[in-house]
């Protein structure tokens, strides 16, 4: 090595060394460190683990699609808001360049505060409380409908369901979990119902309950006593299983159970825990497009990595979790840096058309919210989630009232 070569090498090394303390690493060749926060234990463990599949398959699919290397840094929020906050802080201190998660509105609110304090972008996979994107946060983005949108879409689909089945239920009892998500949904239902005069039913009673409840005897007895035609239910997973069993024990057979935009009744565990009792429950939720190119890629990777799992039972969780990591990877590719400000700005400019979930392109508005994500009515038929509405996407006709319904005299 001559003097000139030595000087050049020294200058290059000096440049790299001067950049590294600020955490600036040019994109190509370097891995993007994605902190994935999910409730893999606690009452939402099954859904958290379901979302985790989406995260686990993301590095391979994204590498294949975009050529971007992803390094996942997984953290368990334990279905606890305080734990979510501390895990987010820890991930950032350990070098996470972007945060993704956390399937819970309460946890999302806490992580958003941490992301804002530390100046690290945070892409929400699933969380619906409207206030998360109403705080003026600069680093928080959400590719999931707000509770108001979920309820609006969900209630509209209920109207379509009644039309499609030529039924006119007059009353509903509304049961909801009393966590951040459940309360936001209840607020949405309460706000929208009086304006939706085309819906033939009125809500005769509203019953809230703890999502970690171990026993729902009283709640179900109270709901049954209203004599409502159908059950409008905003639930999580474990409580949905307990509630369905309790309905059978108390011999309550309403016309049906309809979720206006919540998880629980289309999850894999709901089918395996309840078997035939899971049949005919309806969930009006954002859903995936089975024909999309991206879906096929994801499904192939899912089979490769998790041969025992079927995408259809994890579709919503996998789809939105994958998409949130894809948003980060896409921004990283365009920004060509992991510098948080530049990465955040690149996320803000996102415009992804090739997506897995039904809806328009992934584009954030000024508040960091993706708009125009639609919903489909998913009914449990033959112990699998089946699209029954809208008609254009339907795989089967909706069944309503459900078998076993006894018409009151």
């Amino acid at each position: 090595m001559d003097r000139r070569q030595f000087n050049k090498t020294l200058a290059a090394a000096g440049t790299l060394a001067s950049l590294s303390p600020f955490g600036i690493v040019r994109a190509q060749g370097a891995k993007l460190k994605v902190g994935v926060l999910l409730p893999r234990s606690g009452t939402q463990a099954f859904i958290g683990q379901s979302c985790q599949f989406g995260a686990d398959i993301a590095p391979a699919v994204i590498k294949q699609m975009m050529g971007v290397d992803i390094e996942l840094m997984n953290a368990d929020t334990e279905t606890n808001v305080d734990t979510a906050r501390s895990r987010a802080e820890r991930l950032i201190s350990e070098g996470a360049q972007v945060l993704v998660g956390p399937f819970d509105s309460g946890a999302a609110g806490a992580i958003a505060q941490v992301a804002e304090q530390k100046g690290v972008p945070f892409v929400i996979n699933i969380a619906a409380a409207p206030q998360i994107t109403e705080q003026g946060y600069k680093y928080t983005f959400r590719n999931f409908p707000t509770a108001v949108d979920l309820v609006r879409n969900g209630l509209a689909l209920i109207g379509d369901l009644f039309q499609a089945t030529s039924t006119v239920p007059r009353t509903a009892v509304f049961m909801h979990v009393n966590d951040t998500f459940g309360q936001a949904m209840a607020k949405g239902v309460g706000g929208l119902m009086p304006r939706l005069t085309q819906l033939p039913f009125k809500i005769v009673d509203t019953i809230s309950y703890d999502p970690a409840a171990k026993d729902l005897t009283v709640e179900v007895a109270k709901a049954k006593a209203t004599g409502a035609d159908f059950l409008l239910l905003v639930c999580r997973l474990n409580d949905a299983i307990i509630l369905r069993r309790e309905m059978v024990k108390q011999r309550w057979n309403p016309m049906g159970i309809i979720g206006p935009g919540n998880p629980g009744m289309y999850e894999n565990q709901f089918y395996s825990a309840l078997g035939k009792l899971s049949e005919h429950c309806i969930s009006n939720v954002p859903w995936y497009n089975p024909k999309a190119e991206l879906t096929k890629l994801i499904e192939a990777q899912m089979i490769k990595q998790f041969p025992k799992e079927k995408l259809m039972f994890h579709a919503l969780n996998v789809g939105f979790t994958f998409e949130s990591i894809m948003i980060a990877a896409d921004a990283y590719k365009r920004a060509r840096t992991s510098n948080s400000k530049e990465l955040t700005e690149a996320i803000r400019q996102t415009d992804i058309k090739n997506r897995m979930m039904i809806g328009g392109p992934i584009k954030f508005n000024a508040k960091g919210q993706v708009e125009g994500i639609g919903s489909a009515a998913i009914q449990n038929l033959n112990q699998r989630p089946t699209v029954v509405l809208p008609v254009a996407a339907a795989e089967a006709k909706p069944v309503f009232p459900v078998p076993g319904y006894v018409k009151k005299s």
Partner: protein, 289 residues
């Protein structure tokens, strides 16, 4: 509000309360004699629930039959836990005992998490979703069976302490520790025996509880707290008080859910606890120290 709804809710509260009572009975028996508060009580019940799930999954053993092996195993476990780990702490300050049993509880929760993971598990027996109908009143079969078993177990325990020689010796220990030693009773053995009996009680409660709720490793602390509330309301050390406290808490939670809001169930049981502490600190059936 329809009267049948109130009846249904109260009956469910009584039946669940009896199982709660049996769970708390174990705690009360241990404290009444050994004077150590078992802060791992709920966690021990969770282990019993998992044992029932495993026995059912492996051999389709009905939870009511699983009671026998589970109670025996827990008796042995409790006996050795007391004689090897807890006994040296009997004369130490209460905070040392507290730390020891909290540590045991934490180990149990994390051990369960490592073995079974965080997912909820249950047993599915054919009568679990069935109920009897009497007019408009419904009796949940599993709950009725569980409550009857809880009552039978409590009665057997009462009989043991009242009529058997070891039971009388244990009561003598509880009444007068020094006197028991003076007359030549093997106090160390009797303490371990009591802990074993309390553990067997909690094992039976676990076998029954798994019919009513799904089990997860993190269930333990909530049940430890519930057992405390029950025994404090009923009277710490009083066996009848534990059963009465269980029923009271079961019914008050159910009625609160009906008349106030289901979310306020725990609030009412804690309010009841505060009232008892204020106006009858020794508990409803407890003796003044």
């Amino acid at each position: 509000m329809p009267i049948d709804l109130i009846f249904n809710v109260v009956i469910a509260g009584v039946l669940t309360g009896l199982v709660y009572g049996l769970m708390a009975l174990g705690l009360s028996v241990i404290f009444g004699v050994v004077r150590v508060v078992n802060f791992a009580h709920g966690e021990m019940m969770t282990i019993a629930m998992y044992a029932t799930v495993v026995l059912f999954a492996a051999w389709k053993l009905d939870p009511f039959l699983a009671i026998f092996p589970a109670a025996l195993a827990f008796f042995v476990f409790g006996y050795f836990l007391q004689s090897t780990l807890i006994n040296p702490f009997i004369t130490r300050p209460e905070h040392s005992q507290f730390m020891l049993l909290v540590a045991v509880a934490i180990i149990m929760v994390n051990g369960l998490l490592m073995i079974f993971g965080p997912t909820a598990r249950n047993v599915q027996v054919d009568y679990q979703l069935e109920s009897w109908e009497l007019g408009k009143i419904l009796f949940d079969k599993a709950r009725v069976y569980a409550a009857l078993t809880a009552m039978a177990t409590s009665a057997a325990l009462f009989a043991f302490f009242k009529f058997s020689r070891p039971g009388k010796a244990i009561r003598a220990c509880a009444d007068n520790h020094l006197g028991a030693k003076v007359v030549g009773l093997n106090v160390k053995h009797l303490y371990a025996l009591t802990f074993g009996i309390g553990s067997a009680c909690v094992a039976v409660a676990g076998c029954l509880m798994v019919l009513l709720v799904d089990v997860t490793p993190v269930l333990g602390p909530a049940y430890t707290l519930l057992a405390f509330v029950i025994v404090i309301v009923g009277g710490l050390g009083s066996m009848g008080g534990a059963l009465l406290g269980g029923v009271l808490i079961g019914v008050s939670e159910a009625v609160a859910g009906l008349f106030i809001t289901p979310s306020a169930k725990s609030m009412v049981s804690f309010a009841l606890l505060i009232l008892v502490l204020l106006f009858r600190p020794q508990g409803l059936l407890g003796r003044k120290s």
